[in-house]
């Protein structure tokens, strides 16, 4: 009797298990296939594809640093930081330090990225004397979208320099970067990797020069022709603020200083000290009107607290710290911003001078303008190398 009942039950259970095995198998086969296509095709430049290498800042600058090391021109000074630092001009730092500088800054960089970048530069043969570190307060408060931290995946050599737990954490999150709507582009670029962009350097949206300096040729040209005025653009952006809800906030609600980032900043400064590299740390500013509108007293206090903590950290690790979070601190022009958070060269060169303890306008007349730079770009730049 028992056998009569259990026999069909056992058959049903076995059939259900087969159903489950096929279901799970089909799931993983499909998912892995699509992931592989996106990884190889790399339509958005977010993966370290061997077929279609990423052209994003971190990936390109890493390859460029390797190229410089191979040519025996490894830098002696590094600029680290987020997109707020990408326009720090290496030639200006060469002028100040008498060294050979490279701008390694990349959008959304946090102390963790900077630590990986410095480790990579040291293992890549650079004998560094100076490092200029730009701290982005948004990053220290978790103000960036979490996808920013995944950008390091595009540069495997940098990624390998991350602490193990961070590598595991980021690798597990890598699949969220897949954009399903780009699947067809992923298939075509996996089959036929796209060539270099057909665009004149002076017409491009962005260009990175061989020393890692990034500029915006189109905007620079428009500004030169007086077709683009930061005052007008910023006024329009300020007007649009009221319709953007919480998107406008500099820090997220309930922001707190990220202890994780503070820990990695300490490690970064300690690494500099151990290698006898002079570290200069600056806290970068935002557009004053925007700051005035979106920051509440509690957030201002939070930023002051961040500044105090970085200062203490720098003192302990024998680094130089300068709080340049206000435009006045480097005698800048309040409207010289591309947008709310990115300084134009006019301001950023003053900021760089003050960071190194010089007068804001010292030696600026000897430096080329961005307009001159885009008219005669360096032989190697991001538009002519993969």
């Amino acid at each position: 009797m028992l056998r009569e009942i259990t026999a069909p039950l056992a058959t049903s259970v076995a059939r259900d298990r087969r159903f489950m095995v096929v279901f799970v198998g089909a799931f993983f086969a499909t998912w892995t296939g699509v992931m592989l296509i996106h990884f190889l095709g790399n339509p958005d430049g977010l993966f370290p594809s061997p077929r279609n290498p990423s052209r994003r800042e971190q990936a390109w600058k890493t390859r460029q640093l390797q190229r410089l090391a191979r040519e025996g021109r490894a830098p002696t000074v590094l600029v680290l930081g987020s997109s707020r630092m990408v326009q720090v001009l290496p030639r200006q730092i060469d002028q100040i330090t008498k060294g050979r500088s490279f701008n390694f800054a990349a959008p959304g960089s946090t102390p963790l990225d900077m630590l990986a970048q410095l480790r990579f530069a040291l293992t890549n043969g650079s004998s560094l004397t100076h490092v200029l570190i730009g701290i982005d307060d948004q990053a220290m408060f978790g103000g960036y979208d979490t996808t920013h931290e995944l950008r390091i995946i595009t540069a495997p050599e940098q990624f390998a320099q991350l602490p193990l737990q961070e590598r595991i954490r980021l690798a597990l999150r890598a699949p969220v970067q897949v954009k399903p709507e780009l699947t067809w582009r992923a298939i075509t670029s996996a089959a036929h990797p796209p060539g270099l962009p057909v665009v004149q350097p002076a017409q491009a949206e962005h260009i990175m020069f061989d020393d890692g300096y990034l500029t915006h040729p189109k905007l620079v040209r428009e500004r030169h022709l007086k077709k683009w005025d930061p005052r007008q653009v910023l006024a329009e952006k300020i007007k649009a603020l009221r319709t953007q809800g919480d998107d406008v906030l500099l820090y997220p609600h309930g922001a707190a200083i990220s202890e994780r980032h503070v820990r990695y900043l300490r490690e970064l400064l300690a690494l500099c000290r151990r290698n006898r590299i002079r570290a200069t740390v600056v806290l970068t500013p935002v557009y004053p009107v925007y700051d005035e509108l979106v920051m509440r007293p509690v957030e201002r206090e939070l930023r002051r607290e961040l500044s105090r903590r970085i200062e203490r950290l720098c003192r302990r690790e024998r680094a130089t710290y300068r709080d340049l979070s206000s435009v006045e601190s480097f005698d800048g022009v309040p409207f010289e911003f591309w947008d709310f958070v990115h300084l134009t060269p006019h301001n950023i060169r003053r900021m760089t001078n003050v960071a190194f303890g010089r007068r804001p306008d010292q030696g600026l007349a000897e430096l080329p303008t961005d307009f001159q730079l885009i008219r005669a770009p360096t032989p190697v730049h991001s538009l002519n190398t993969p």
Partner: protein, 486 residues
């Protein structure tokens, strides 16, 4: 953690499944795994509110337990043990969900009466509180009325309240729904087989895949398409009649596929742990009239409102049917959100129900579910659909003023400049898509009919697995389930 996330699908669910079925035996083990997993699931969002849930669970469990140990002649004491937990449950709901709303109303009133401005305060809404509070109320009420026996153990009751598949957004389960299933688990019905019982896996995985397709591939894509129109309208821009109809129809299908997709996933997950949860959506857009709509839309909520609000208010019997319907629907609207537009939405559906009852009484409409001529049936059915669509305007709008502007746009009013939106799709394309979805919801069997009828073919398993993988690829573009906010 969301169902449509890698953390859930790749780590949480497989880990809990393996622990539940393969790492231990017996009822206590499985219940303990499920309760701990559910609390872990809940604390992923905010661990502090697990304490609130635990306290609520304990209070209701012990009140019901004490109620049954009292002799039946101690009526007042028993009533106290019924009223006290209900008051506590509603107070918690009021505090967390409606405090902000009432302070806003008080502030507006104060300003209107010429008083000084009052500070508007709001508390964080603990996710799922509306759902588990209603379940707790139904439990103590059912125990009091003798409809169900009290839970055998705290573990069993905690499992009923916190079971993670339906913790966040339902279906609203009653203890009576699960009592027999707990009994089967307790009796060791599944101990002989190492793994879930037959059919549960097949049905569970099929519903999981179908729910995910509805949510990720349909509802979320619709949201991306229609949100620019709604946002433009909220920002005081003007949109044309075609765009407004596309936005409203798009939302009509978005909310259905979103919420019914979530419910399918919840029921599917329940099956993976050998629990059959109630059906929450039964092809609501096939409803023959507004009464029928509420028998098909969010079935577990509407039946809860019927049994624990409408009938205690007197139901149809007292001659106050209209009053009772309106009260029930207005409160049902308020349950969805602490804002005037939800109350208006409840009121709109209340009026539709009252009108339908009235038309049935005078013979203009047949009773819901009664046979009627085909053309007439289709006309009333589509009219019902349009009336429901109108209601969704109130539900989706960010305020009554926005709803008013949307109604105006739908009627072609407003001669201002109609903005062209960069992110909005071509309106013709959107309307064509809505027509396809209309045909889907009108002519295709719903996911329950499909899942329970689907034969155990391996090709279906492969199709389901591949469909789920296609959904997983979208997990990078995360969106919440619409009903999480309620």
């Amino acid at each position: 953690v969301l169902f449509n996330s890698y953390e859930f699908l790749f780590a949480f669910l497989p880990a809990v499944y393996v622990l539940y079925w393969y790492c231990g035996r017996g009822f206590r083990w499985r219940m303990a795994v499920l309760v701990l997993a559910s609390y872990a699931f809940y604390s992923w969002w905010d661990w502090r509110f697990t304490i609130l849930m635990l306290l609520s669970t304990g209070a209701n469990y012990f009140a019901a337990r004490r109620m049954t140990t009292l002799p039946s002649e101690r009526v007042r004491r028993r009533k106290m043990l019924l009223i006290a937990p209900i008051v506590v449950n509603l107070a918690l709901l009021a505090a967390f969900k409606y405090f902000g709303f009432f302070t806003r109303v008080a502030a507006d009133l104060s300003q209107f009466l010429g008083g000084g401005p009052l500070p508007a305060l709001a508390l964080i809404l603990p996710i799922g509180i509306s759902f588990y509070t209603f379940e707790a109320i139904s439990y103590v009420a059912d125990v009091y009325r003798g409809v169900t026996k009290p839970a055998r153990s705290f573990l069993e009751y905690a499992c009923f309240i916190s079971m993670f598949p339906r913790l966040i957004a339902g279906p609203i389960v009653r203890y009576a729904d699960l009592e027999a299933q707990f009994r089967a688990h307790r009796a060791g019905a599944f101990d002989e087989i190492a793994g879930p019982p037959p059919d549960h896996v097949r049905i569970g995985l099929t519903l999981l895949a179908m729910g995910m397709v509805k949510k990720v591939l349909i509802a979320d894509r619709l949201a991306v398409a229609i949100n620019p129109w709604w946002s433009a309208l909220a920002g005081s821009a003007l949109i044309g009649p075609a765009e407004s109809w596309a936005a409203v129809l798009g939302y009509t299908f978005q909310i259905y596929f979103d919420f019914s997709g979530y419910s399918d996933i919840a029921v599917g997950l329940g099956h993976l742990f050998a629990f059959k949860l109630p059906q929450n959506f039964n092809s609501p857009y096939k409803a023959s009239d507004p009464i029928d709509f509420w028998r098909r839309w969010h079935v577990t909520l509407s039946s809860w409102l019927r049994d624990y609000l409408y009938i205690p208010l007197g139901g149809n019997r007292t001659g106050h049917r209209t009053r009772n319907i309106m009260t029930t629907m207005l409160l049902g609207g308020l349950w969805h959100g602490a804002a005037w537009q939800f109350i208006a939405w409840g009121g709109w559906h209340g009026l539709l129900l009252v009108a339908t009852h009235g038309l049935q009484r005078i013979g203009w409409l047949p009773d819901s579910g009664a046979r009627q001529s085909r053309p007439r049936y289709w006309i009333v059915r589509q009219l019902t659909f349009v009336l429901v669509v109108v209601g969704w305007v109130l539900f989706r709008a960010d305020g009554l003023d926005v709803a008013g502007r949307m109604f105006g746009a739908m009627l072609g009013s407003g001669d201002g400049h109609v903005v062209a939106l960069r992110d909005a799709p071509a309106v013709e394309l959107m309307l064509a898509l809505c027509a396809i979805l209309w045909a889907w919801v009108n002519f295709i069997p719903n996911s329950f009919e499909l899942a329970y009828r689907t034969p155990r073919r391996l090709s279906y398993a492969a199709l389901g697995g591949a469909a789920l993988a296609c959904c997983a690829i979208y997990f990078g573009t995360k969106t919440d389930f619409l009903y999480f906010q309620f």
